[in-house]
């Protein structure tokens, strides 16, 4: 089976000469189909850049990015992935339903099919009753759920998420994390998830990719062994599981390895 994402020897350099910034330096990473991988690290470690390269919103200076065996650009043009950003980025003049239907409409799907699919997706994210609302009538968490429904519209086998819960309060955040896990179990999509929250990365991921800044590199890949299948009835129970805390400690150690806390927080 081809990997969902394979990044090979990728560097991304912005600017030239003295103003040159190395955002990513010789990064290689493979995400298997159906796998949930988080990218974590301090600001400036290139985690968002890496996600943008996979999405072909930006191009690597050196190296190759392949998505399901195809070059990133081809994969993008073939609608191989769904994407969600830190800002929900909904179109304020469209209803919630019309926002979710947007990717389908651009892909040329008929009205009836779009309607049916949007209804299903809105039910999936628990917003069936808000289909005819406008985004400004929804809370931030609800808007983000609409954005996730939109990302899932074309049933992608790969979801790219750039700190989608970053701007939300802790309660909403945990609620959406649990919903996201449930959705992933249902859709079997691979996920590349950028975050700077250690518990979030551990709770969601099969593997946590720990990155370091200046230049952006992968420092360590921490496998997570939470028993999600066993806790399927109540995923939130995992948050108090001893393994959960052990894994958090492991990621934390990898993040802080050899760096002062101030540097790790991007203050250095």
């Amino acid at each position: 089976m081809t990997a969902a994402v394979s990044v090979d020897g990728v560097s991304r350099v912005y600017g030239t000469g003295r103003a040159q910034v190395v955002a990513l330096d010789d990064v290689s990473l493979t995400v298997e189909a159906g796998q949930f991988v988080s990218l974590i690290g301090p600001s400036g470690c290139g985690k968002s850049t890496l996600l943008r390269l996979i999405a072909d919103l930006d191009e690597p200076t050196v190296g190759t990015v392949r998505v399901f065996g195809r070059p990133a650009r081809e994969a993008r043009l073939a609608h191989e992935y769904g994407i969600a950003f830190q800002q929900a980025g909904l179109l304020p003049w469209r209803t919630v339903r019309a926002n979710v239907e947007l990717p389908l409409a651009l892909a040329g799907m008929g009205r009836a099919g779009r309607r049916e699919r949007a209804s299903h997706l809105l039910a999936l994210v628990g917003l069936a009753d808000f289909a005819e609302h406008f985004p400004d009538q929804l809370s931030g968490g609800m808007q983000q759920r609409v954005a996730i429904a939109r990302a899932l519209a074309e049933e992608p086998s790969l979801l790219l998420m750039d700190e989608p819960f970053g701007a939300l309060d802790e309660m909403t955040r945990e609620h959406l994390q649990t919903q996201l896990l449930r959705i992933c179990a249902e859709t079997r999509a691979a996920v590349v998830f950028v975050t700077h929250s250690i518990p979030e990365a551990v709770f969601l991921s099969d593997r946590v990719v720990v990155m370091s800044p200046r230049p952006g590199r992968i420092r360590e890949v921490v496998p997570v062994t939470l028993d999600r299948a066993g806790a399927a009835d109540d995923l939130d129970e995992l948050r108090t599981d001893a393994t959960f805390f052990d894994e958090i400690a492991a990621v934390r150690a990898a993040l802080l390895d050899g760096v002062s806390v101030a540097q790790a927080e991007g203050l250095g």
């Binding site: 919103l57 993008r76 043009l77 609608h79 950003f85 980025g89 179109l91 304020p92 003049w93």
Partner: protein, 255 residues
Amino acid sequence: MSAVAGAVRQVLPPAVLLVGLIAAWQGAVVVAEIPPFVLPGPAAIASELVEFREPILSAAAVTGRNAALGLLSGGILGVLLALVAAALRLVDALAAPLVTALSAVPVVALAPVLYSMHGAGSEHARVVVAALAVFVPVYLHTLRGLRQVLPVHRDLLRALAATPRQAARVVTLPTALPFVFTGLRLASSLAVISAVVAEYFGGPRSGVGSFITTAAAGSDYAQAWAYVLGAIAVGLLFFTATSLAERAVLRRRPG
């Protein structure tokens, strides 16, 4: 009920103020015996308004038509050129200094020149003056609006592999629309002002501007004021029409 009460509360104070001002004006004219060439009283103006209602109405129709044609042609031109300038950096670079220069020109000053170009019997010059006055704000606001697309929306369109045409229809144009209407709302008043003032500089004796000058020249001050009221009515009509159009189109927008 409360909506009616709200409307009354909103409309009543300015209405009372207006009535009070008119009464004070009439009182001052009568008590102080102000000569009509300085300031005619509202009663005299009102009687002129009633007596000349038909010529005032037809003159207002001519001016209104000139302003409307100017608003339409200048508006369409402004939006189209802004679309081109937003798409082609070179056009923007070429047009920017010209539009800046044009915005500094008191467009009505061109009226005499245009009258000799188009012939003194034609209304064309007035339409052109109105169109030029309209073009500048519509062009500038539309161009600004076309540049307001949020980075997250740009990323989204790229991620969805939207074609340039799809991107324009789905995001760029809807984003720009409120700005287009701001430009049009400003331009609608400019269109009327330009059309009226252009009539001061010659051309056929047809619109309110021409009759204001004739009446004033003939020492018919109350009548001149009555025509001024006609011009004000046209201006308000234009402002109301564009505001209503704006509200209808942007019904479902936040903010």
